[in-house]
Symmetry: D3
Subunit: 282 residues, 6 copies
């Protein structure tokens, strides 16, 4: 679903052990066969499973069992089992565990938020580009496995005008004059404008924008504004970003908007996983 | 302090905008001069400032002001100001902001934890290798700027025996027989053993280990154990890992251990920063 | 506008001269100062100028003059002038020349096609992702400088259903049932369907698709179909791809479609440039 | 024959789909098994077949059939067949197709030119380093599979003196004094000089050069000059570069030169290939 | 034991043959099957065997026999045998041979030095970071296979104060005041100080340093100093660096120090290996 | 002369200090200004000076003095002086020193061998591709600065037939039949054959080879063979490889061959350099 290049996965391995694994070397366990098992410690939406498995395969181990990304598993479920040289398993252990704990945390929290939305509406949960630099691939895989969609992957794919653009071009009136030209030039894209007030949204809609992204508008006010805007501009898309939490997401999902944008899932509590390495009889 | 290679910083830029910045292109702001300012929204321990500045320099902008990493600043402080082409500033905006928000969050929380420890003790806060794969450099810079020290950077530099090693070699008795040989072979390193109980620690200390890393021992019990162990083995180092929180860190800092190990600062709440881009008269 | 990472430009230099420049070395010209000048041999729309300049800067030379990408210049115009060590100029010569000749050829041909369209219509020329693998950045910069827009940069940013998708899901009827769900899920994107016939387009439009991409439909037929489709679905976007040439592009531009998609500009005749290296008095 | 590093091929895949394949994801075809077939639409000299196959293997698909690079195939021939997950095939489709279409175009045109030469002479067709930067490996593989040879791969391997060198060292008289020293220093290499006139060539030959590369001399004149030069310098190699086309290549091949140098094959019309993706019963 | 990333090994292959293997191509041996055998020409301690094998596997050949790194073999022993296409074997030949000859030379010499030490003492041979830049991984693997240990892998893992640090902080008295603070801050590390004289060492030991690294002290004097220092500071570690040779290493090993540091093994005489490529009947 | 990409130099820095410089950090010298000086300890032919300087520039230091590569300097000469932050100088210290010591050792020994040859003959010293994998660029720069020439940079640039090729094609008779075809196909290259005996050389010369590379033939015998071969084939080039040492190189240089090939200079004794870091008054 997301393609991780070989060097991306190898870089994670190399980061943690650029040279010898000193402890394994001093203990002399390099030639022993062993088995590594990873189990959940609470219900978890899985992600990055295929990449965790590849870490061990790259290190020469063999994958015996690997649950699929996107799957929901209970507590105490075996999700990954690999066999190989003891030093290879020790080398991959924390890298795979860190990867899975952080990203399954993201996927699990995303799934909880998505499920709240889905319980009251068919609109999507959209996740922003506000993640740690360098982490776009794992984060996007995690939110997709959590049932959300990427809001915008970056600057090259969508048209979204922020206040910081308006400062440069001379404000919202100047923008209104440009919208038709932008729609023509980028006829395959939707033109989106960030708005803080109903008045700004009315102006943008009148100028022909395809989509309004409201920023930090409370759900009740948003419900009213959306109704009013959709009445006069039935094809207008409206989404809300900023201030969405587990507590208010259902209210937002029922506000009449077409999508809910948030970033906070990237910062979800990591999942808790147990990892055991046991000797194998050769 | 930490050296980021050119391609590491350029990869962050490229990740967010692999091709054109479509919005800036359609708005036609590419030739305009502008100024970008980043301000804090709460007291913050800064980090990754030099790297945020490099993002803009690589994009051809000029740094007018850049506060230093490691500095404490109040709310509403201008920490970075750059001037350049409007499209360059828009391209660097979110990359720099994401970098600073996540990592200053880590540094600020680390500083709070370090300061709690320092208020009662001279022992160090030690931060583990349990971070998102690929993020070691920014995370280590952040915790150093937060006043902590790296616990172990990875497998190649320190000797730390876990339960998962003991499983392979045949348990703690087998380990005890190996400690002297390990100390001789790695005479420049300290040999560290993870222990759960006082009995395990007594055995390891008797066998000559340099350092005991206790895992998830409550502070009161730890205080007693440490006193007992230090009495019989005055040169033994003792550190505690697992279960350390803002609520109990002072108690741990007074328990007599030589260091406190934790990972949770990597997952600190991101800092909140405000970014403004304004036109410049050429 | 497009950001080329340092290693991308350095790789071009390294590709042509992985080790010593044997001829310059044997001639002993390494310590001499010289000036390199690049002139056009016919009217040219410039592109990749900034990257050509960077090639020489990376090699330690100094840029004296560099015309801007996007500019139209006449024949016999000096577009790039650099001074530096003779061996540095020789090393950069063909790399910069090849880059400029191929890509300015693309930009110039794109500009000619764009200008044909613009002479009769306000719709955009859209250029596909059908370029040599590895060449996306220079090619996209060239077509942007030629006044066209990228059609889709790749698979991650737009939704475009081809016949090869329909084969998998069970044909156009199956697709029709999915369109509303796709529109909801990707509410910030337009859903686009490739069609060969009016009937296919009618079905897709009725199912709610945002955009029809016709494949290889003659201009006259396209004009009729577009009129008919727009009457019943006024918000529907229609674009045409396949078979657009310099001879028929005006007819397509007047067919009522919202955009014209083509790939052939990537394969434009390279521009012809003259490069001279002359000694400088130190 | 040419070794493509893993990251070179993976970069092509990543360029086209840096994140999710949005269309395949929204259509939900990720778990379906499918078969991709590539057929020729005209007689074609194949090249880059092994690399196209590797694209799919890297994506986890299995190669069922792959014709060899260097082979001549008729129209409507199945040249590549792979089976795998539908989303993997969609991800590799255009990358492989673009690679094959551009490069098989180069190989096919090279084969046509080579065959024209071979019909009247045993001399080689030599292809220059004047290709798109970054494309040396695929281009060289294509011209080798087309039956030509690389003229010079770059600056580090051969000695070829151009006018732009002469400008620096003080002209052809200065060069003549250096040729013996260059021959001694680089005794394993041939010393080559670009010449425009017979007089220049006579001077270079008299000074001991191993090879004359004439630039844009018409075939008739070249025939006469070659005869004259070979009479006085029987060991002298003579090659012609510049202005060679399909129309005149036979005349050049009969002019008495030892090789024909050209660049235009790099810009051959891409081959036309048909790609079909069909579902497989699991 | 040491993990070499795919691109690290592929870079070696690419360095030697960036494009076609011209000789094999002209000889037309690309489709022939062949077998490559590598034999020792003197008793050798093997290393980098797994990486040499990977070179050929990456090139599509199959490994028939591969002796293990760390093994001692006699003269005239077959250590690596692979079968594959003749051009693949020719491409890997010198790369693998150079790798093995240089590094087995290092391992063999290290083994000789280690064995001298082991004949009189249980202390380790410690090898510095003074190797060719870019060669850390192969060199560390070679010295580990030679029975030595890395002294310090680099700046990020150990604390070692040199004269060039003392110049900056104001000399040894200034250092003495800092040692306790350094020991607290880096409680998991040993604090090491380079000393030239007994007096310097006494001062450092009194200040609480964990380890003294003497620089170029003759063995007899070192024996006396070590005895004196250990008497007053029984837990103090002492190591010697500089001036250790095959002639005096036993004397140093008996001097009472805890480890012997040297760099010269990196510069050991390369091993001599014979490589044969023979045709296989298909 | 040789172009080192930014990431190549940055990788050297990163290899030695992947994270913080722990000693400098604990000593708190990061904000101090300092000066680093490198002096020779014996007469030295310099090389890699520009790259050593770039190491410090990349780390933010300023180069005050840098002697040129290729220069001969006496003992106790200041060859590099940089000023900057103390921690930057400490970080670059050993990386630059290792680079210079190993490679200046190569250059100095090459210069000695070249000068021996030059004292009796005008023929070149040619250095093989038998270096540590990954070290081609620094090694080739070093031997060029030592006054030698690269023998062959790798497989892609020259045609040299070894015994291991003959095994595949069926021996020397088979080769003789192929030489004319090879000469035609690669008309810009010299065809070279490795020979052990006069008879083999006679056969190759008769078949038209351009160059004979004798392997390990004693100088006296070589002198006789060369005279005999040159008499019958005056244009034939002859070079000798294998067994050339400082003791016999003059004899070989007078044997009548056209070039002397060796590898041993890559393994020259490293140069000895002194490095001092001193504080600067800010």
């Amino acid at each position: 679903m997301i393609f991780f290049q070989t060097h991306e996965i190898e870089a994670w391995i190399n980061e943690d052990a650029p040279m010898v694994d000193l402890t394994s070397h001093l203990l002399g366990i390099e030639q022993q066969s062993a088995e590594l098992s990873i189990k959940t410690r609470h219900p978890t939406r899985l992600t990055l499973m295929e990449e965790a498995a590849r870490i061990f395969e790259i290190l020469g181990a063999r994958v015996v069992h690997c649950s699929h990304s996107g799957q929901d598993v209970d507590s105490d479920t075996l999700i990954l089992q690999v066999v190989g040289r003891a030093d290879a398993l020790h080398r991959g252990w924390k890298v795979a565990m860190n990867l899975l704990e952080y990203l399954c945390g993201v996927a699990t929290h995303t799934a909880q938020m998505s499920s709240q939305v889905a319980s009251v509406s068919a609109i999507p949960l959209l996740v922003t580009r506000k993640h740690l630099p360098g982490m776009k691939k794992p984060m996007i895989k995690a939110i997709l496995n959590g049932g959300a969609h990427p809001h915008r992957l970056g600057l090259s794919e969508t048209v979204l005008v922020f206040e910081n653009h308006l400062n440069i071009i001379g404000g919202r009136d100047a923008l209104a004059h440009k919208i038709q030209a932008m729609k023509h030039a980028a006829c395959e894209k939707k033109i989106s404008i960030e708005c803080d007030t109903l008045q700004q949204a009315e102006q943008a809609a009148a100028a022909g924008t395809d989509l309004i992204q409201f920023d930090k508008v409370p759900a009740a006010k948003l419900t009213a504004w959306t109704a009013q805007l959709k009445q006069s501009h039935p094809n207008l898309q409206i989404i809300i970003a900023g201030g969405v939490t587990a507590d208010n997401v259902k209210a937002y999902a029922q506000s009449g908007v077409d999508g809910i944008v948030l970033s906070s899932v990237y910062h979800a509590k990591p999942a808790d996983l147990g990892v055991t390495i046991q000797p194998l009889q050769d």
